[in-house]
Subunit: 348 residues, 2 copies
Amino acid sequence: MWPDMRFCELLGLDHPVIQAPMAGTSGPALAAAVSNAGGLGSLGCATLPPQRLRDEMRALAERTNRPVNLNFFCHAEPKMDADRHAALMDALAPHYAASGVAPPEGAPSAPFAPFGAAHLDYLLEQPPAVASFHFGLPDAAAIAALKGRGCRILSSATTVAEARWLAERGADAIIAQGWEAGGHRGVFLDPAHDAQIGLFALLPQVVDAVDVPVIAAGGVADGRGIAAAFALGAAGVQIGTAFLTAPEATPKPHHANAARAGTDDSTRISSAVSGRPARAHRTPWLDAMARVEPAPFPLMYHYTAPLQAADADRHHFSLYGQTAALAPEGPAEVRFRLLIEDAARAMT
Amino acid sequence: MWPDMRFCELLGLDHPVIQAPMAGTSGPALAAAVSNAGGLGSLGCATLPPQRLRDEMRALAERTNRPVNLNFFCHAEPKMDADRHAALMDALAPHYAASGVAPPEGAPSAPFAPFGAAHLDYLLEQPPAVASFHFGLPDAAAIAALKGRGCRILSSATTVAEARWLAERGADAIIAQGWEAGGHRGVFLDPAHDAQIGLFALLPQVVDAVDVPVIAAGGVADGRGIAAAFALGAAGVQIGTAFLTAPEATPKPHHANAARAGTDDSTRISSAVSGRPARAHRTPWLDAMARVEPAPFPLMYHYTAPLQAADADRHHFSLYGQTAALAPEGPAEVRFRLLIEDAARAMT
């Protein structure tokens, strides 16, 4: 049924559908359900402490022997100066006060590290079918080592220039991430000037620019979207929001509730919580925080995590995309099958 | 070849393709070429003085007897207070000085009026097949009068809520305008909170929400885009940027050059020139103006027109969309035929 089989053939998949690696929200149960159904399940590993990463990799290996995708972040090590810290503490003082939260003490520290030697060692020990990255790629030696162990390399592009950059460095497939996507935007070449390209415009231009298969992400949540992605030249789709509310996923309660109530216009892009632009449920707090210059990703969590912990009603950071309302219902495997059946109808 | 014929049948068109009414840039030659080729040519009438409007309507009637679309703006009458004026003159003083331009004198006046009684009289005298509107709709009496003379009514929606609002007030078809679109965003229900919805997400949700045919706009510039729009549920497409550089169009030289050089990431949304958000060629001037709180549309032109007139290299305001690079070449009729042939290939 698929007009382009390149991505299926690259990985031995039945269906060219990736479950998006939603850090903190996916997990072995969701990833295994999608892989066992014939797609590519993904584990969002970027924010996991080392022991947790080992545990989740083991749990996933116990649940499926089909191809899986482990996803990591390649952001730069954040640097922070004292002036910026002082300005942020001032800007956030009213927010801490309004929620009765003690301001965080001491110098900011990052809650997780970018992809590095330790992550690479884990992957080389138990190489997954796919190692994927957000915010660029690891260095050439790491890519060569992963490829030497049979891993396919994927990463996200938000512009044609980013897609070319990834293809030149050995990406085996490129995820064209549209403006509609929930979660963190993968923008990495010029984060200060996000070009904000909608999937409808981005996808065909990335397809024209690179020779590797292109995966459509952002706004794909039903069979119509899958059919449209293939019409625009995609060789596969990546779907996150449509799996976010499945029972196998692990969003926090506020997050799940927000995604369930999501409409076309209920999200906004904000850099205020993590330090990088992400699409999340629009709240008065996020609107107010638009005037704050954030700390570099992910140091900004040092300032915002205490607010979220103390008063989640006001400060929840619920990442989902612009097509939450189109998501199917039921367990992940049921959702997956509905998506495939719906796409088959739309493509004939 | 079209999987949905409702829009063709509504108007007696061969092909459900609207040439977007680009105010100041379309004109009778372009509109007639598209209508004569079997699509719906459009005249952007919103900014025309009354005598020019009569002349263009006459010129268009001489060139085609096929259905045409006349487009008008339904913005609110702008109001400006003295404090805001003073703040704007201060904010723009460095820009005037840098280009050696005399600051505009006197109170700001709008360069054109919203759709009103005079426009309605013209339309009732010589009713076009379609009267279309941006920024909402005229009042119920005007809509009833136009419908009484056989006009079909179209308007643009940037959210599901706007689409429902338009359908409830009698729109015969609704243009779902994605974030990718060049020119002014049609946002009208809550302009202060633009939901910025990409076409891929907006289109199927509008299709699900209303019973009238939905036209896809923003990011459609080749056959793949047309096929994808129909896969997402559209009954037609509206295409602007792909006609902008046709010889029949009338963009200013800077505008045509910018659109010809347009890439996926060469535009940005800016309210700084007109007072309403519009997608235009990204320039250092537009980036700098992002920090200025604009006057209400279209009064902001009072402050920016002198800059554009005196130093267009720096201050040109070149409206086009995120798929300029996909536009076909040649005269409008050739572009139209290429689009249709390309769509036919993509849909089989």
